[in-house]
């Protein structure tokens, strides 16, 4: 029986960050809790925050379950995480500038050439292009798990368009409305500056040819996208336009947006659209979602695209293994946050180990996301294990494996009362002229007892994440 680190309790005593929650928890009668839970749900409904789940069908406007029990970090715990996250964001961006430039890290033999240059996410079209301020990934979402008081591991990096930050903001908003007393009793660092910092970050990477206050827009694939709510939410909070491809057009050296007062030049595009779709003249010719000619304007310095096309090669799951190496190579520092030990099935000896230990390991697709195409060995049926054995054998390079981590738990409201459930954390690091991180992030919780899969697409929920002021 594995023992899990409970973030609230150490033996029978309550850990300091959670001290004030003990009374709150015990003082709340079941009826009040149910009432509050219903109230929270009504608030989420009213705001309209829903999550459509890819490939699952059913109600596309399903609410993502919200758990009222907050997840808490002390100021000191956070300070270390913050240093580690910023370090990682710097290294990932240095890597991107390098592999689209001279490729020193490959020449130095620190990462295999094939892994980088044959990667599907490597965009030959942006080789030699250095984006403003040398930043490729402006919003870096780093997924972390905890296994002990001082043990944190990075599960994966998200350098393209990490989603979920709207939940970080909404969860806080709702907790403050429902439990104002809690926010008086605890010194909780605010997260509501995120949209303003995001706007400032985007404006700070305006292109060379921009000689005035930059115009920033969010480019969305449209309301069929599962994260459309977040796109419009962020546009609202930042006070920028939310546009679709058809609202933008290229003329001469610049990109313009159609407005009721005529065309307006656009300087920075925060795109929530994959590389393949952003410009049919450069990438997929059949894309109707993008802006024809956008890449020529981008590459000649007329517009900035955030994250920059090609950023995905840094968050590939096989490249992930080399992030500690990147930190040493570019920054000359030791990694503050550890990677999870990872076996690459593309390597013969790793493959052998993985196939022999499928029952113990978590197996992931290199390009998968959202918890799809994943095997959790200890929880899987014999059929599922055999299915994965066949898939891995057929295409080993497409899979990595990691040990099943003993994810920490935090108290969570469940039908029977309060019980520990496993959690992870995704903070959102903003990289522009400066590197900034609001104190908090999205805590995801696996609501099913014993489950280690926290993905919202797999029945996970979310919690408000507190960082206490020292």
């Amino acid at each position: 029986m594995t023992s899990y680190f409970n973030e609230m309790y150490q033996g029978h005593s309550v850990r300091a960050p959670y001290a004030r929650l003990q009374d709150w928890m015990t003082a709340m009668p079941a009826e009040l809790r149910q009432m509050k839970q219903a109230e929270a749900e009504a608030l989420f409904r009213r705001i309209g925050i829903t999550f459509a789940v890819y490939g699952e069908g059913g109600d596309p406007d399903r609410l993502i379950p919200f758990d009222m029990f907050p997840r808490v970090f002390s100021g000191a715990e956070w300070a270390k995480l913050e240093r580690g996250i910023k370090q990682r964001a710097r290294a990932l961006n240095a890597f991107l500038v390098d592999v689209y430039g001279r490729g020193e890290i490959v020449r130095a033999g620190r990462i295999p050439a094939r892994l980088v240059y044959l990667n599907e996410a490597y965009e030959k079209a942006v080789v030699g292009i250095v984006p403003p301020k040398g930043v490729y990934s402006h919003i870096v979402g780093i997924d972390l798990v905890r296994t002990g008081p001082d043990e944190f591991f990075v599960l994966e990096d998200n350098c393209r368009t990490p989603s979920g930050v709207s939940y970080m903001l909404e969860n806080r908003e709702i907790m403050m409305r429902m439990f104002p007393d809690l926010f008086r009793e605890n010194r909780i660092q605010p997260v509501d500056s995120y949209p303003e910092i995001l706007r400032r970050t985007l404006a700070s990477v305006a292109p060379q040819k921009c000689d005035r206050e930059p115009t920033v827009v969010i480019l969305t694939p449209g309301h069929y996208n599962s994260a459309y709510y977040e796109h419009s939410f962020l546009a609202d909070l930042m006070g920028v336009e939310l546009v679709e491809g058809q609202d933008l057009f290229v003329e001469g050296e610049f990109v313009f947006m159609r407005t009721t007062e005529g065309p307006r030049r656009v300087d920075v595009i925060y795109r929530r659209l994959d590389d393949a779709f952003i410009d049919p003249l450069c990438f997929r010719p059949d894309s109707m979602l993008g802006v024809p000619g956008l890449m020529d304007v981008y590459r000649s310095g007329g517009v900035s695209i955030c994250s920059a096309p090609g950023a995905g090669v840094a968050d590939d799951k096989a490249v992930y293994t080399y992030v500690p190496e990147m930190i040493r190579f570019y920054l000359g520092e030791e990694p503050i946050l550890n990677n999870v030990p990872t076996w690459q099935c593309g390597k013969a000896e790793d493959l052998k180990y993985v196939l022999a230990h499928l029952n113990e390991l978590v197996v992931k697709e290199v390009h998968g996301s959202g918890g799809y195409g994943m095997l959790v060995g200890p929880k899987a049926s014999a059929d599922q294990v055999e299915l994965f054995r066949a898939r891995i054998t057929a295409n080993p390079g497409n899979y990595i494996a990691q040990p099943t981590l003993a994810l920490s738990t935090t108290p969570t409201f469940v039908a029977e009362g309060i019980a520990p459930r496993h959690v992870d954390l995704r903070p959102y690091c903003l990289v522009g002229e400066r590197i900034e991180l609001v104190p908090g992030g999205l805590t995801r919780v696996a609501l099913t007892e014993g489950s280690l899969v926290v993905n919202s697409s797999q029945g996970g929920g979310v919690k408000d994440t507190w960082v206490l002021a020292e």
Binding site: R114, L118, Y122, G128, F249, V250, L281, P285
Partner: protein
């Protein structure tokens, strides 16, 4: 050799379109054996957009035309002095690592028939000989026959047909070369054709294969040779779509028809000596 190029592409729309956006690879490569004496690209009613040299060394130039228009004309004229480099691309500045050209694309996917063309080749021992053999085998397997394939035909489909044009043959060379571990790419350019050659042959395509120690080497399976001083190199890519001289799109419902004429002529050598 002194080559004079005149290349006209006329797009006609059956009803006026609101606008046109294009991305061009229409400038001669900066490399040994190609000296640009004059070169001009015009787009009727066009506004020149952003231009830049990409990581593969190509000059990419954006253009936009504000509609409504029924027709636009892209006109390329120029003169280039060429010298035979025996097919080797020399003095060409590029940053994209050769490994990036091992990636498969749909039109260059190698099927069993294409893989069979690699039989017995030993690129580890002599990569150059292997590349020559690939090009020769493709010339035999896909016989140059205009009109049997389209711009969408894949290497595997042309292989099954046994016929095709320069695009199909180049795709096939690329597919086989990558299969045996040699980076390969698609090159578009112009070719001086003999008096017997038809005008459309002058807009040409061939393949380049990366040979360690030598660099990129051109192979033209359509003419069973390596590019020499009859060739003008413009740009390259993973396949024909990535290396296209013109990629464009229109706004509005107009149906497009296309008319291309290319002439490449050899001029008398200008032996004007400046007194």
């Amino acid at each position: 050799m002194l080559l004079t190029v005149d290349h006209v592409t006329r797009y006609h729309y059956d009803q006026p379109v609101r606008g046109v956006v294009q991305s061009h690879r229409l400038m001669p490569s900066l490399c040994a054996g190609q000296k640009m004496l004059r070169w001009k690209v015009t787009v009727s009613d066009g506004q020149m957009g952003g231009g830049f040299r990409d990581g593969a060394g190509d000059w990419v130039q954006g253009w936009t035309v504000l509609g409504p228009v029924n027709e636009i004309t892209v006109h390329v004229t120029g003169q280039v002095e060429t010298l035979d480099q025996a097919g080797v691309l020399r003095g060409h500045k590029e940053l994209v690592p050769p490994e990036a050209y091992l990636r498969k694309t749909h039109p260059t996917e190698a099927d069993a028939a294409l893989i069979a063309l690699a039989e017995g080749l030993t690129p580890q021992q002599d990569a150059l000989a292997a590349a020559h053999a690939v090009s020769a085998r493709v010339s035999d397997a896909i016989v140059y026959t205009p009109g049997t394939t389209t711009s969408q035909t894949t290497a595997a489909e042309a292989m099954a047909l046994g016929t095709g044009v320069c695009q199909d043959q180049a795709h096939a060379v690329i597919a086989v070369a990558r299969h045996i571990g040699l980076p390969a790419r698609y090159v578009s350019g112009y070719l001086l054709v003999g008096i017997d050659g038809a005008a459309h042959d002058a807009a040409h395509a061939w393949a380049e294969v990366f040979i360690a120690g030598l660099g990129w080497v051109g192979f033209d399976p359509a003419n069973r040779c390596c590019p020499d001083d009859r060739y003008i190199r413009l740009g390259s890519g993973l396949d024909s779509a990535h290396a296209a001289m013109i990629r464009g799109t229109t706004r509005g419902p107009g149906e497009e028809s296309l008319d291309v004429s290319v002439t490449v002529l050899q001029s008398q050598t200008q032996s004007q000596t400046q007194q």
